[in-house]
Amino acid sequence: MISSLILIIIGGALVVIGSFCSLVAAIGILRLPNFFTRIHALTINIIGGTFTPLIGCGFITLGLETLGSERLFIAGGIFFTAILIVILGPAGSHALTRAAYRSKAVSFEPKFINQLEKEQRGD
């Protein structure tokens, strides 16, 4: 009984953290100046705003004993989805950023330093 309560509290805290990360990412996508910084905000949304609340939902589902033994199936599905997202999301944003950098379709301004360009020139 107490363990289920602890699970629900941990899950709720994770969901709150996730919603905060979503809010930060939304503000970042609206306010940040160029494509590469906005990709950074998008990654905050993928990991902080999707992965964390999914794990929290899994903990909440495990804690709700009124759902019966079916809650294990639901929690398993939730954890599996979370693992898939944490594998696929960074790979997707990596592919997007790489394509944008190589095709030079986006503007780099404002920029402070471009380390990759320096290394390619051989400095």
Partner: protein, 264 residues
Amino acid sequence: MNISYRFIGLLLLIAMILAISICTTISNVGFNIPHDIKYLSRWVIYSSYLVTTPIFSSMVPEIVNAVIWDYRGIDTFFETSVFYIAIIAAIALFREVKIELVKEYQYLGLSKIVKTVTKTLLVIGLGAAISIALHGHITPGGGFQAGSILASLLLIVIIVFSVHFILMKGLTKNLAIIIRSIGLIGLVSAIFIPILLSLIMNTYGFVFQNQPKVMSPLGLSYVADGHVLSAMVLLLNIFEFLAIFAGFLIIFILLSRPTKELEN
């Protein structure tokens, strides 16, 4: 002026969010479900899976698959045939195109990170697609959905690894056509075998006959060794899975040709 517009918009947004949350939390606001619909849904469930009288039931626990393959099977069959005619038209349109293979396919495609992640995804997605196809009569899903999942997975592989990867690994257009033909032949034979049997056994038989009906004793057993198999729906799901995935794969291989190659 600008700030006041923004303020009004923010107020409207908050009001909408509050209204939706109130409507979803308090059950009396919003619409009540009438009792007739519950009666209707009970009849749908009875005619889908009722162990006591299998003659009046299609013996498929998943209602959507019961509707698709048993209640209105002929409709699904013609939908499927429309899809295959479209694929045949695409093959006929691209019949002059010869695909030149690139031996060094490992230098094509996206970066190594994306390739590694796609390999992981391919294993997981293959398992998910096959399980959705084989569990279509118990859980939501079915042949078309599983075939679409596998085909979209192969589309990702084509984008990430390039089409030469798939072709050099042996999954060519001709093999896809063969798989599609196997699926179609299985589908048609599973549909029409009850009629042929009824001609031989001198009884009545119907197209898409899943379970024994009142006048005709034909039909496979819906349960085997304690597992619900739903007889013909499982077979139809498997054949539909093969045919749909191979059909989509043909389209994707043909559409991934670059424009320069087509102009030559």
